[in-house]
């Protein structure tokens, strides 16, 4: 019977890795909330029926309920790492786009004459506040 838990765990790992590659908005959020609800139900159930874990463990071929919990914990940690990773990538890309816009907005546009004397641009302030060169607004992707 040992293969049951193996299959279940492998499927879980594959699903998590799959989630890593996929982007998603509302659908993902809905799934996460659904997962949360199931999680709460399971927690309540295991408080009310502490022996249930052992029974479920037997059912899937694991000796003790505690072992099953450990396996599930490992899978949960993996899932967390995977979703964090995907999220970090998204945030990084947004941050890049933002920083690029700031950088281009602060720079003297390529078609404007170079700032006379080439005064070093202090960080955080546009090179020229007053004059607004009309060219160079077209840097969108």
């Amino acid at each position: 019977m040992n293969w049951i838990i193996k299959v279940l765990l492998v499927i879980a790992v594959v699903l998590i890795t799959g989630a890593l590659a996929r982007g998603g908005g509302a659908r993902r959020l809905a799934l996460r909330r659904l997962g949360l609800a199931v999680f709460a139900l399971v927690v309540v159930a295991s408080i009310l029926y502490p022996n249930a874990w052992t029974r479920v463990a037997r059912l899937v071929g694991v000796g003790r309920g505690a072992d099953l919990l450990l396996y599930m914990l490992i899978v949960a940690v993996l899932a967390l790492v995977a979703t964090r990773f995907a999220r970090d990538r998204r945030v990084q890309q947004q941050l890049t786009a933002l920083a690029r816009r700031v950088a281009l907005a602060e720079a003297v546009p390529p078609t404007a004459p170079p700032a006379s004397g080439e005064v070093p641009v202090p960080p955080g302030r546009p090179a020229s506040g007053a004059e607004r060169p009309g060219t160079g607004g077209g840097a969108t992707s």
């Binding site: 982007g23 690029r100 281009l104 720079a107 078609t111 080439e118 070093p120 840097a139």
Partner: protein, 240 residues
């Protein structure tokens, strides 16, 4: 500072991160041949930006935070695209490893007939032509050579472009190619991304032999061979 022949509408894009000891010499060489130069300072902490802004005729774009070489290239290319007269960009390293004369040769080939007869849209620097890098004094060390070779084999297999040098920062791209680039790889994996773009866009490309100097300075600053692991990981995670 004056431009010579066909280079007057080419922008040289130089990503800079903490290159204070080298950048002034590099800019001197580049501005001798090119009229349009933009440095993208990636939040350097060693005063690189101040040095750049003291060089006449060089434009400076500053990232507010460090984003990586690929991100800096993308920013510099978008800056150059703001110039409607721009016909091509040259990417050039700030650490003194590239020769401005090589860059000019690459840029001049843009628009000339390529291998398939169409006008060239991408001219890629290669250090492997005619065994040029083999044991050249001042060239890459044996470990780096092996690594670069492995990168070539891998990139050829995955991207499907028969290039001989996949991680050479010296290249000339026509305006169409520049405009079609949207580098997502902020780090060093952008090199493969550019090749993927050339392949996907069916652009006409060719290679041109260039010299890469491994000075003590550039070696002290350059990539650890271990970084190959990071680049591979980024490439894999980057595809959706």
């Amino acid at each position: 500072m004056r431009t010579s022949d066909g280079l007057s509408t080419t922008w040289v894009v130089i990503p800079v991160y903490n290159e204070a000891p080298a950048i002034e010499g590099v800019l001197e060489d580049v501005t001798a041949l090119f009229g349009h130069v933009v440095c993208v300072d990636d939040a350097s902490t060693d005063g690189s930006a101040a040095i750049i802004s003291s060089v006449p005729g060089v434009r400076l774009v500053r990232h507010p935070i460090n984003l990586g070489q690929g991100a800096a290239l993308q920013t510099g290319i978008e800056y150059a695209l703001q110039d409607p007269a721009m016909t091509g960009v040259v990417t050039f390293d700030a650490d003194g490893q590239h020769h401005a004369s090589d860059a000019a040769r690459l840029a001049r080939r843009l628009g000339l007939p390529g291998p398939d007869g169409r006008p060239l849209q991408a001219v890629l620097g290669t250090r492997w032509a005619e065994g040029r890098e083999a044991k050249r004094p001042g060239g890459a060390g044996p470990a780096r050579r092996l690594l670069l070779r492995a990168a070539v084999v891998y990139t050829r297999a995955t991207v499907g472009l028969r290039v001989t040098d996949t991680h050479n920062g010296l290249r000339a791209l026509s305006r169409e190619v520049a405009a079609s680039l949207h580098l997502k790889q902020n780090g060093m994996a952008h090199a493969s991304e550019i090749l993927q773009r050339i392949k996907a866009g069916r652009f006409c490309w060719a290679e041109e032999p260039v010299t890469i100097d491994y000075t003590e300075y550039s070696k002290s600053k350059g990539q650890s061979p271990l970084n190959a692991i990071n680049i591979l990981t980024e490439l894999w995670l980057g595809r959706r």
